[in-house]
Amino acid sequence: MTVIESQSSSLAPSLRAVAVVVLVAVGFFLPRLLGGTSVAYSTLTTIAIFAVMCYGVDIVLSYLGEVSLGHTLFWAVGGYTAANLSVKYGMNGWSTAIATIGLCIIAAAFLGVVTLRTREFVFSLVTYAAAVVAYEIAFNWDAVGGSDGIVGISALKLPFGFATYVGGTQEELWPVAFALLLLTLAFIARFRRSRLGTTALMVQMNPPLAASLGVDPRKVRLAVFVISAPITGLAGWLYAYQRAYVGPDMFETYFLVMMLTAVVVVGRRVLVGPLIGTAILIAQQNLLSLGGDWNKIILGSVLALVLIFWPTGLIGLLRRFGKARA
C-alpha cells in the first residue's frame, strides 16, 4: 500500500512527467548506449518481452494475492496464434495480435468460470493442470504444430495505412518490444488506480471489509484473471516473431518459474518490480550462465529463498537498510 502512495505523491506532477519522458527516452536508446551490438538488441528485446509476460502474473499475484500457475498457457496461446495465423493464412501482426487477445480472454474466462465456485488452491491446481494439458494437446495435435512446432515464421508486419513496419531483425523488433512494454506499464499503472484494482487489493488485504461492502472475491478473481491473460499472451505473440519458431517448449516450467520469480524477487506491488526482476534474471541466464541445469537450480532457489527469508523482496531489504541507517 505504502509503495503506491509514495510513488504518486513524492513528486510534483509536472516534474514526474519530465522524469518519465527522460526514462522512456533513455530506455529506448539503451541498446545503442550498451554498444548497439546485436547481442545488446536481442538481450534487451528478450527482457522487454519476458517482462510483459511477467506482468500478466504480476496482476494476479501482487494485486489479487492469488497464484495462477497457468499463465504459460496464455504465453503459448500468443505464440501459437501468431505462428499459425501468419504462416498458414499470411495475416499481419495486427490481426494476429487481436486474435491473441481474443483467444486469451476466452481461455481465461473458461478456466475462471469453471473454478469460480472452488476454493483458492483449487484455482491454482486447475490453472496448473490446464497448462500441462494444453502442452499435451500442442505436442500431439499436428494441425497446430505438433511435437515439431512451427518453423519459419516470417518477419512481423505492422501496416500503418501509408507504410508497413517490418520487424525482421532483433534491432527492428526492439521498438515493438519496447512499445509493448510501455503499453503494459501504462496499463498496469492505470489498473492499480482503477476500481477493479483497488477492489482486488481490498479483497487481498482486508477480506472482511470487502465482504461487508458486498464484494464477491471470486468474481473479482475471475475479472482480474481474465484481464491478466492477454498481457502474457501478447508477450508470447511477440516471442514467436522474435524466435521465428514456436513449439511445445513454450509450456516449459521454466517460463512459469521465471514469471513468479521475476515478480517476487524485487517485491510485490511495485510497478517496475517485474521489469527489474526480469532484467536481473535474464542477465544472469544470458551473461553469467552456468549451464541449463545449474540455471534451473539458481532460478528455483531464488524463488524459494526470497519467499522464505525476504517475502517483501529486494525492496523490503533496501527499506530495512534505509531504516537501520536513519
Partner: protein, 284 residues
C-alpha cells in the same frame, strides 16, 4: 478389443494413481498443506530406487527402503525450511515455494543422474501372468495389494488412533492446538515427511513399468490432482475409489478414443466435476 483386459488395465493404472496420490491426500486433506514439488519428488523417488539397485547393487526391497529414507530426509529438510510459511498458513507462498523447490530438484537430478532415460531393473515387472486372454504382471499385483494395504493402514491410523485426531486438530487451528500442548511444528513436519516417503514408495512401485527421465512428473501431478479433488479433498476412502475409477476411465479412453490425450481426458473429468460438484464427489 477385450473389455475384461481393459478392466484389468484400468485397475492396474488406477492402483498406481491411488498409490502416488496417497501422500497428497493426507497432506492436503488432513494438514491443509500443498506441495507442487510432488511430481519431482515422484521422479526423485524413482531415481533413488534406480540408483540403489543399479549403482549400489541393492535388492529391490532394500532399494525401496533406501528411496523412502532418502525422500524422508529431503522432506524433513524442505519442511524445516518452509516452517515459517506453514505456521502462518501462507498457502499462496507455499504453493510458489514448493514449485521453486521442485524446479531445483529437477535441475539437481539432471546433474546427478544425467539426461538419459533409465529403466528400473525388475524381475516382477517382466513376470507375466496369463489367464486365458487376460494378462498382467506380478508387479501390477504388487502395486494393487500394496496400495490397498497402505490405504487401509492410513485410514485406521488417522481415524482410530489419537495421533490422527492430533493432526486434524493442528490442521483446524495450529495455535489453538499448541495451547493444548501439541507441538504443531512436529506434527506438520511428520505429515510432510510422510508425504515424501509415500510418494517415494509409490514411485518405487509404479516406476518399473516404464522408462524414467529426470524431466518426468507432470503427468503424475495431474493424475494426483484429479484423484484428490475427485475423491473429495482429504477423504482417504474417496481417494482410493477415485484413483481406481480414474484408472478405469483412462484405460477405456486410451483403448477406445485416443492414447495421446489421456491426461487431457482426466483434466476434462476434473473440470466437469468442479462445475457440478465443486467440493468433490464424496461431499454431502
Amino acid at each position: 478389443m477385450n473389455i475384461a483386459q481393459q478392466i484389468v488395465n484400468g485397475l492396474v493404472l488406477g492402483s498406481g494413481y491411488a498409490c502416488i496420490a496417497l501422500g497428497w491426500t493426507i497432506l492436503l486433506g488432513v494438514a491443509r498443506l500443498v506441495n507442487f514439488a510432488h511430481g519431482q519428488l515422484y521422479m526423485l523417488g524413482a531415481f533413488a530406487t534406480w540408483y540403489a539397485m543399479v549403482k549400489l547393487g541393492l535388492p529391490y526391497p532394500l532399494a525401496i527402503l533406501a528411496a523412502i529414507v532418502a525422500l524422508a530426509v529431503l522432506g524433513a529438510l524442505m519442511q524445516s525450511a518452509m516452517m515459517g510459511l506453514v505456521m502462518t498458513q501462507n498457502l499462496t507462498s507455499l504453493m510458489i515455494v514448493t514449485l521453486g523447490l521442485g524446479y531445483v530438484l529437477q535441475g539437481g537430478s539432471a546433474l546427478i543422474f544425467g539426461g538419459n532415460p533409465q529403466t528400473l531393473p525388475g524381475t516382477l515387472s517382466r513376470a507375466k501372468v496369463d489367464l486365458g486372454s487376460l494378462w498382467f504382471t506380478w508387479q501390477d499385483v504388487l502395486v494393487l495389494v500394496a496400495t490397498l494395504l497402505l490405504y487401509a493402514a492410513v485410514w485406521l491410523f488417522t481415524q482410530k488412533t489419537r495421533f490422527g485426531s492430533v493432526i486434524r486438530a493442528v490442521a483446524e487451528d495450529p495455535k489453538l492446538a499448541e495451547l493444548f500442548g501439541i507441538n504443531a511444528r512436529v506434527v506438520y513436519l511428520l505429515v510432510f515427511v510422510f508425504e515424501c516417503s509415500a510418494v517415494a514408495l509409490g514411485a518405487a512401485l509404479v516406476a518399473p513399468r516404464s522408462p524414467i527421465l529426470t524431466s518426468m512428473g507432470f503427468n503424475e501431478v495431474i493424475m494426483t490432482f484429479v484423484v484428490v479433488v475427485l475423491g473429495g479433498i482429504g477423504s482417504i476412502g474417496g481417494a482410493l475409489i477415485a484413483g481406481l475409477g480414474l484408472g478405469l476411465f483412462i484405460a477405456f479412453f486410451g483403448a477406445f478414443v485416443a492414447q495421446a490425450y489421456t491426461t487431457a481426458a482426466a483434466f476434462g473429468v476434473l473440470l466437469a466435476l468442479l462445475v457440478v460438484r465443486p467440493a468433490g464427489l464424496s461431499a454431502k
